[in-house]
């Protein structure tokens, strides 16, 4: 038989094109506008989807192979961690607050964006861009589920992990990441991509994912850090998607540039506010610190981000509007947020505490321009008060920024003694903001942000009590009622670390495991 043996060898790029772009087609039985109804209304113009450069040429066979190998290893560690009481190897039970914050405030976002990337993965017209988004959708499912399984063991032994789902929809400080995620998901597919893939994954991942995972590595948390290492290659793919997406949009049409610039301004600022929570974690919650928030900001935002925006200048993109203010805030935000959470420590589902002298000295050294002048005296005052039996627990509710939903606790640029505060009257209603940038985000989309579900306002309106409580009863304690509505186990989830059940159990169990 004559055999056709000299077949053309395909290059990787060509072969990948057959595996992806070649699969799609222009619909003719249904109008394209009906099949892809969402990719026009944001005003982005795409002339040639084929110009999309595939950020990673991964076919499903290779995807399954790599991911399967990674997950086999990861679950072996999760299993061993659970079997051998790995939780007792963390540096100190105070570290648990850092994972609680991650579990309560970050993991649900991973879950959220699964649907966002599936939507983008269905509704962009270019096949290659769709597949890149789909891979990220299924990766994000991985991250949510593996985080759930890594943290499952902590939940068995410690407080504050148990009702993450219920708390996410209700708790005052969780409305910060929740509104961030819902802002992105409720936007069109292009804004979603800039918000998550570019601003969050590309510009800010090193300030979110990496600090938590490095914190885990420094503090003996084998379960979380193994997840972190395992997710690293996924994260680099997601970053590549982010940079590819923005270059593609900018190259397609000059009219896209101002739209994309507006999104960069908005999402950089929104991202930097969410990151204040990470700053607090790095500077205060890690018994063994990795680096200060300020150092992380200087490396990952100022150096890397600066280089990125110099690179994007050729497209007509300038650094985000809030850039200078965010850079100045590196000296302050972690301290301001920690003080806020410390004072509202009765209403957080993680523990807060006063730093030790050694820790205060570390902060003084890391923040020579701000810590001793503005924050150390307050922290020492609060610690002394606590020592004298007067642990401060604020009970009056703070005003929340309508956009980022963080209580007004940040200070004016240039004046760290003055709380920053802005107001806008829109259709007869007054709205409050933490900064000019959040105010501007509102003004650009008032119809969106008037919908913000602001926990404090809702509490005042009586919308945050369980249905069976009677607010007219003589012994009604509104704060307690709200915390019950959040599903806190009062006295176990909240309050100071000193004397907490977590502190006591950890000490007792570690004793059991280490002595006879």
């Amino acid at each position: 038989m004559d055999m056709n043996v000299s077949k053309k060898k395909l290059g990787i790029k060509e072969r990948y094109a057959h595996m992806t772009r070649g699969l799609g087609w222009e619909p003719t039985y249904q109008p394209a506008e009906a099949v892809f109804p969402y990719d026009k209304y944001e005003g982005i113009k795409i002339h040639d989807w084929d110009k999309w450069v595939d950020p990673f040429r991964l076919t499903m066979d290779a995807y399954w192979k790599y991911q399967g190998e990674k997950d086999r290893k990861l679950y072996a560690v999760i299993e061993a961690f659970a079997q051998n009481n790995g939780h007792l190897n963390i540096t100190d039970a105070r570290y648990l607050s850092a994972i609680k914050l991650f579990w309560q405030g970050v993991s649900p976002l991973e879950n959220y964006v699964v649907q966002g990337f599936a939507r983008a993965g269905r509704h962009f017209r270019g096949e290659a861009s769709r597949i890149a988004c789909q891979m990220q959708a299924v990766d994000e499912l991985r991250h949510y589920q593996t985080q759930t399984h890594s943290i499952s063991n902590y939940n068995k032994y410690y407080n504050g992990f148990h009702s993450q789902r219920h708390m996410w929809d209700r708790v005052w400080y969780l409305s910060v990441p929740k509104s961030f995620g819902e802002d992105a998901l409720s936007a069109g597919p292009f804004e979603f991509l800039i918000a998550i893939s570019f601003s969050f994954e590309y510009v800010l991942t090193n300030l979110l994912f990496v600090p938590f995972m490095s914190g885990a590595a420094y503090n003996g948390d084998m379960s979380t850090v193994t997840f972190g290492f395992s997710a690293q290659s996924d994260e680099s793919r997601h970053m590549t998607l982010g940079i590819e997406a923005i270059k593609f949009l900018l190259e397609q049409d000059p009219a896209n540039v101002p739209i994309v610039q507006g999104w960069i301004d908005k999402w950089f600022w929104r991202g930097s506010k969410v990151l204040a929570l990470v700053g607090m974690m790095m500077d205060y919650m890690l018994p063994k610190r990795v680096m200060s928030w300020k150092e992380a900001w200087e490396i990952y935002a100022e150096e890397n981000g600066g280089a990125l925006f110099r690179d994007l200048a050729r497209y007509g993109i300038r650094p985000p509007k809030g850039w200078a203010d965010a850079c100045e805030a590196k000296n302050h935000i972690s301290h301001q947020i920690w003080l806020l959470f410390y004072e509202y420590g009765g209403a957080t589902a993680f523990h807060t505490w006063s730093p030790t002298n050694e820790e205060l000295d570390w902060l003084s050294a890391k923040y020579p321009d701000s810590f001793d002048k503005y924050y150390r005296p307050r922290l020492e005052f609060l610690r002394d008060k606590h020592a004298r039996g007067g642990r401060v627990y604020q009970t009056t509710l703070p005003a929340l920024c309508t956009t980022c939903q963080i209580p007004l606790c940040f200070t004016e640029p240039g004046d760290p003694t003055k709380i920053s505060h802005r107001e806008t009257v829109h259709e007869g209603e007054k709205y409050v903001f933490c900064s000019g940038h959040c105010q501007e985000i509102f003004s650009n989309e008032p119809e969106k942000f008037v919908q913000s579900w602001l926990p404090v306002n809702q509490i005042y309106q009586g919308n945050c009590f369980n249905p069976d409580v009677d607010p007219t009863a003589p012994d009604f304690d509104p704060l307690k009622a709200v915390l019950e509505y959040f599903h806190y186990n009062l006295g176990r989830d909240n309050g100071d670390f000193e004397g907490s059940e977590d502190q006591q159990n950890f000490a007792k169990w570690r004793g059991q495991a280490g002595h006879n």
Partner: protein
């Protein structure tokens, strides 16, 4: 005989998360599947209406006309979560890869009878576009569905669909020159035999009800296409004519269909049993899309089976109707 290693035992404070405990009858040890998928849907105080669909909330079960008292009842009997899914697929991919290697190293693809090879190419290669259509539908289903118990298997199903489209592409590249893919796409776009299937596929792209997408694609279209093409055409017709190499190179598809059917049946059975309202809707969608699919597959069956086309189609439809009946429908 057993050995027992002593480890320090610490009594846990609780066994699982409260959202999981509420759905498994109390605080007891939960499986990985349960912790990954139960009770994770955000349900309250959504901040902003979606700009792309302001008539609904961001997460909104009203995106389907199906009504469930408890969406988390729609569990996956396979109990797949990401890790078990990807590890299982990695194993299956290894087998599939070995099959490709076996065929290529023994040059089995070069010794196929020419008419068998042509028939395989004509029938199978355009189906990569149908698999891509399934991928689009499962992404849409995933993005619109309510509750993790559907969202999680939906995105895995979409990626499986993509994997199948890519396996069919590899099959084409092994059987012939790359141009074969362009020829198959032309057939998909223009040849009369493929138009009813393409027409129907495009019509599924505009379904907005997420449960209708699920029924149309995963139950009906797959439920008729896979048995017809992979059982009857590849495993029977082609193999009996010397084309077992084709069966080796597509062995993943019938295997996958068997697994995916378990999930689909598990979901539909519970939805149908929930209420007369649901039963009527699922029955209506099933009948409507079944009739469309039969019409769409008829010219392809003619190509694949010649004179036997009607018998083959009838058998497949009968098998499908029996499956629907087992799930509580009369179709």
């Amino acid at each position: 005989m057993s050995v027992e290693i002593k480890a320090v035992e610490i009594k846990p404070l609780r066994n699982t998360f409260t959202n999981v405990a509420e759905l498994i009858g109390g605080d007891k040890p939960a499986s990985r599947y349960q912790e990954a998928t139960l009770g994770n849907q955000a349900t309250a105080h959504m901040h902003y209406r979606p700009t792309w669909e302001p008539e609904f909330e961001l997460f909104d079960p009203r995106r389907s006309a199906i009504q469930m008292r408890e969406w988390y009842d729609l569990r996956d009997p396979r109990q797949l979560y990401y890790s078990s899914w990807t590890i299982q697929r990695a194993k299956e991919q290894e087998t599939q890869e070995a099959n490709f290697d076996f065929v290529e190293s023994r040059r089995l693809h070069l010794s196929l009878p020419p008419d068998v090879k042509k028939l395989a190419v004509d029938v199978l290669i355009p189906l990569r576009h149908a698999a891509w259509g399934a991928n689009m539908n499962n992404n849409e289903f995933c993005s619109r569905a309510f509750s993790e118990v559907l969202i999680s298997p939906a995105i895995m199903q979409a990626m499986d669909n993509l994997g199948i489209a890519q396996y069919l592409t590899r099959l084409g590249l092994i059987l012939d020159e790359p141009e074969i893919l362009d020829t198959a796409k032309k057939q998909w776009m223009d040849s009369p035999a493929w138009q009813p299937l393409r027409h129907m596929t495009e019509d599924t792209f505009v379904i907005r009800d997420f449960m209708e997408i699920f029924v149309a694609q995963n139950f009906v279209i797959d439920g008729l296409l896979y048995p017809l093409i992979y059982d009857r055409f590849v495993d029977d017709t082609l193999t009996s004519r010397g084309g077992s190499a084709i069966a080796m190179m597509t062995s993943f598809m019938p295997l996958w269909f068997g697994q995916s059917s378990k999930w689909v049946d598990g979901v539909i059975k519970v939805v149908v049993a929930e209420s007369e309202h649901n039963k009527a809707l699922i029955t209506q969608w099933t009948t409507q899309w079944r009739n469309r699919t039969i019409a769409a597959l008829t010219p392809i069956a003619a190509m694949a089976f010649g004179d036997h086309q009607q018998t083959m189609l009838d058998e497949v439809v009968e098998q499908f109707n029996a499956r629907a009946k087992k799930l509580g429908m009369t179709v």
